[in-house]
């Protein structure tokens, strides 16, 4: 590895290498997006530009259902993770109690454990209780693997929290709830948002856990594609996938922007 003479300048070799890696990372995404505008039914050559698949996809009921499922599961599991996770982070920050260390380190279990093991564990657990797989089991699964990330992110934010501001609010007559709402929450908001975004992306990105914990009526878009891919995928899948790609990126960029604004306000 080279040591840079002028470390703050781009060098042609580095730029070329970085571009190559970025090309590799974006290539399959470009393929999906490009073919969503292709008039040919086969994903081989680009024939003519069209947006017809973006209308035709609405006729594909199963496909649309899977997309709606994906959105519902991601939304509900993110909200639950954020509420439970933020509460936990606040509790771990504020109180001293026995088992605190044990609880903090058990938060790392879902992060460290292979997802496949977690997936089959939940599948076995639910079927031992004769619970059939549905949207509910899917949401439970997603909350379980994403909530620890919320706790860790919010905790990291709280670590740099000046407690005297809270005390000042109390001294000036604010009650506990008001202090939380007007002082604590705005302070930890950037952490809560980034924890929530982490939970959202993890839910949208998940394949392995959903594969085992989704019921026949609650398949998500990725699972639907996995089922179709051997037989050949219809082009409306490209259109819907493009929507999902663009949607996810748009949400995350917006939240990033909001987060930066919040940071600046403090």
């Amino acid at each position: 590895m080279k040591k840079k003479r002028k470390p703050r300048e781009f060098r042609p070799g580095s730029v070329a290498y970085a571009c190559l890696i970025y090309l590799f990372l974006y290539l399959p995404i470009f393929v999906v997006i490009a073919f969503s505008f292709n008039s040919s039914k086969m994903n081989i050559v680009f024939e003519e530009f069209t947006v017809e698949w973006y209308f035709k996809m609405f006729d594909n009921r199963q496909l649309m259902d899977s997309f709606v499922n994906t959105v519902i599961v991601a939304g509900v599991s993110t909200i639950l993770s954020v509420i439970i996770g933020t509460l936990c982070a606040l509790g771990l920050y504020r109180f001293e109690f026995k088992l605190k260390n044990a609880i903090s380190s058990s938060l790392y279990i879902p992060i460290v454990i292979p997802e496949l093991v977690f997936a089959i564990a939940l599948l076995s657990f639910f079927s031992a209780l004769h619970v059939s797989m549905s949207m509910v089991t899917l949401i439970i699964a997603h909350v379980t693997f994403s909530m620890p990330f919320v706790v860790i992110t919010v905790r990291a934010r709280l670590a740099g929290f000046d407690r005297s501001i809270e005390e000042a609010a109390r001294d000036l007559g604010a009650n506990g709830f008001r202090t939380f709402w007007r002082v604590t929450l705005p302070m930890i908001a950037p952490g809560v948002i980034s924890g929530g975004m982490l939970a959202l992306t993890m839910s949208l990105d998940d394949v392995v856990v959903s594969f085992f914990t989704a019921g026949p009526e609650s398949t998500t878009l990725p699972l639907k594609i996995l089922g179709m891919v051997r037989k050949g995928v219809s082009p409306d899948v490209n259109a819907l996938s493009t929507l999902m790609i663009v949607g996810t990126i748009a949400i995350l960029l917006t939240s990033n922007f909001i987060q930066e604004r919040l940071e600046r306000k403090l």
Partner: protein
């Protein structure tokens, strides 16, 4: 008792839900998997509560040892390729001009905010025998016959490297970024060559990043059954697919559970190794 509850009311309200949730939906299910490994499978695809070590004994059958070998080999190749390709990339990112850095890291993360299966499906479209890449290569006259690229072991490796590269790059980036630049200057002032500066200073100091990156690549790669499903032929069986099959088609759950214990053991060994050089907090 009452006083105990009153004193800890805050703890119960805040930390309680998490403890309950993780207890019910994580710890109990995991304990149940461990219990399953010693149960006997019955003829109807269910389990009988009869103690047996049969499932563990079956792990040592030659066909399964081969699956473990193939899986570890694939994950090892994935990890090494990700490190070799990712290290220079992380280095470039970490040394980029400051106003570019945030943007470049964002650009790295962006694809990984979108679903990994959709991206793997993109590769599937590219590599098909009747797919884009072959069509292109034939069009420019580089090949006469379409190449069989999809459904090979190479395609699986490509899919794995693709899916896991950012998981290698991010910890590497963090540890290179943290490097104390004055040490490098001191090294070269004292006459060390660039190669020397790298092998004696940069490389050892970024070891925690290399370890974290490797583990975050190796462990998930063992479980990504959908990548081998979409990119690989049925020729090679990997542990992820084997576990999936035991639970879905073969319906031998006790054996599937024993197989997942293998995954856990591999993970624990790697984590143990890792905690010698870094801390758990760096993983998240």
């Amino acid at each position: 008792m009452n006083r105990f509850f009153k004193k800890h009311l805050g703890v119960f309200v805040t930390v309680g839900p998490t403890v309950l949730w993780l207890g019910i939906f994580l710890l109990i299910p995991l304990a149940y998997v461990i219990l399953m490994t010693v149960l006997t499978k019955n003829a109807y695809g269910g389990m009988d509560f009869i103690f047996t070590l049969e499932n563990y004994r079956n792990l040592f059958a030659n066909e399964y040892l081969k699956v473990f070998g193939d899986s570890i080999w694939l994950s090892l190749q994935t990890t090494v390729i990700c490190l070799v390709v990712g290290y220079p990339f992380a280095y470039i990112l970490a040394n980029a001009p400051k106003r570019w850095k945030g943007f470049l890291v964002m650009l790295l993360m962006l694809p990984f905010w979108t679903n990994s299966l959709i991206r793997t499906y993109g590769w599937n479209t590219l590599l098909r025998t009747e797919g884009i890449l072959n069509h292109f290569l034939q069009g420019v006259g580089l090949i006469d016959q379409p190449l069989e690229m999809l459904y090979t072991d190479g395609a699986v490796l490509l899919g794995m490297v693709y899916a896991l590269l950012p998981f290698t790059v991010l910890p590497l980036y963090t540890s290179i970024e943290k490097l104390d630049k004055s040490l490098l200057e001191a090294g070269s002032d004292l006459g060390a060559s660039r190669v020397h500066v790298f092998t004696r200073i940069i490389f050892p100091l970024t070891m925690p990043g290399i370890f974290a990156g490797s583990i975050q690549t190796f462990i998930p790669s063992l479980g990504f059954f959908f990548i081998s499903d979409m990119m690989g032929g049925a020729k090679t069986m990997y542990i992820g697919n084997l576990i999936k099959n035991q639970f879905l088609s073969a319906r031998n759950w006790p054996f599937g559970a024993a197989l997942s214990i293998v995954l856990i053991v591999i993970t624990l060994i790697l984590m143990k190794l890792y905690t010698r050089v870094g801390s758990l907090e760096d993983m998240a």
